[in-house]
């Protein structure tokens, strides 16, 4: 092979490498932008929703329409069973914008063990905030969820999945508020295209916050308040 031929081959190889490198860099930047940027964007929204659910739980345990009032002083963290029984969630006037909030209050001292599950008595209600997204009906979405989720979940008695219940203390994790198959159907049927729902799905948050429930006869039971938030953006 002559030196002229070698030089031509070297230059060609160099050009090919340079072109591949340029294509690689462009592809890498596009991949990073599409994957990482969207991932971070979604993650930030999820964390905001998780934080909103903690904040809302704190507001609710101090709300005069839910909490026990003794001598004119609101007892933070002590919910009044009588008030819960007759609660009209619309009167609370609490809610994040474009969001649906589901509140579950469980009495951990009124549970019945059934096979591997524990059913605890409690209360459930939904709150929705002001809506500014055109075509979005949080009420429709909530109705869809209500109609599709089984009665045990929404009824007076709630499933409370625990790891070690029989013959031992109440230790474990609380079931997720959201049922994936129902969510997909309800989002598809009731939420306009282009609107994204961000749910709090953190198992840690689904443990809720410890509370006390005060009954009419003065009994105080240990319970948990669990707040699920879905925000539409």
């Amino acid at each position: 092979m002559s030196s002229k031929q070698s030089k031509g081959l070297t230059l060609t190889a160099f050009s090919i490498l340079a072109s591949l490198f340029s294509i690689g860099i462009i592809a890498l930047l596009a991949y990073i932008f599409l994957s990482r940027y969207l991932e971070v964007h979604l993650f930030v929204n999820e964390v905001t929703v998780e934080r909103n659910s903690i904040n809302l739980a704190n507001v609710l345990i101090s709300h005069e329409d839910l909490a026990y009032v003794k001598d004119g002083v609101i007892q933070r963290g002590v919910l009044d069973a009588e008030k819960l029984e007759h609660l009209d969630p619309r009167m609370l006037n609490i809610g994040y914008p474009n969001s649906l909030m589901i509140v579950k209050i469980l009495d951990l001292e009124k549970c019945k063990a059934q096979e591997s599950e524990l059913n605890c008595d409690g209360w459930f209600f939904a709150l929705n905030g002001p809506v500014s997204i055109q075509g979005l009906s949080v009420v429709k979405f909530a109705d869809c969820l209500f109609n599709n989720i089984d009665d045990d979940f929404w009824g007076k008695s709630f499933r409370f999945y625990l790891g070690h219940i029989l013959g031992g203390p109440l230790i474990g994790t609380i079931a997720s508020l959201w049922q994936p198959h129902d969510l997909v159907k309800c989002v598809h049927n009731t939420i306009p295209s282009g609107v994204v729902g961000v749910f709090n799905t953190n198992p840690m948050i689904f443990r809720g916050l410890p509370i006390l429930i005060r009954y009419d006869n003065g009994d105080l039971h240990v319970g948990r308040i669990i707040v699920g938030v879905v925000e539409f953006i």
Binding site: K7, F21, I25, V40, E50, I54, P169, M204, L212, V222
Partner: protein
């Protein structure tokens, strides 16, 4: 020399691509870690605080459980019923099987052979019969 040129180019290309990946990946990882840890701290603080608040308000012998802590060194130190009550209520309040309750001088309750670290909740209790200080800090630590 030509071979050296290509080798140098490849080296620069590898360094450039690695730099771009690290430049995007490390900040994203750190940012996510930062957000996750902040959320965990916020939740742990709220859960611990409400757990202790609930524990102190529970009724024990026609009084609030606060009194057990307030009079712990002089009255409840050897009271097995009080200890049993606290054990049951901490179990259900914290939903934990690994916990430790202590103040500056005593370990009041400790479960099993574990060393809880996850959730830390503090309560400052009025201790009228304590000659050293009128306020004692009680700490409840538990793991989920």
């Amino acid at each position: 020399m030509k071979g050296f040129g290509i080798f140098s180019f490849l080296l620069i290309a590898i360094i450039a691509e690695a730099t771009i990946i690290l430049f995007f990946t490390i900040p994203v990882f750190l940012f996510k870690y930062h957000l996750t840890i902040n959320l965990k701290v916020q939740y742990d603080y709220n859960e611990g605080e409400t757990a202790v608040l609930s524990l102190l308000r529970l009724p024990y012998q026609d009084q609030e459980a606060y009194k057990i802590f307030s009079e712990w060194p002089i009255r409840y130190y050897n009271d097995e019923n009080a200890k049993k009550f606290l054990k049951e209520k901490i179990n259900i309040t914290s939903l934990s099987k690994c916990y430790k309750l202590f103040n500056s001088t005593d370990v009041i309750l400790k479960s099993g052979n574990c060393d809880p670290k996850e959730v830390l909740a503090e309560a400052y209790i009025f201790v009228p019969y304590n000659p050293k200080s009128l306020v004692e800090k009680y700490v409840l630590v538990y793991d989920r």
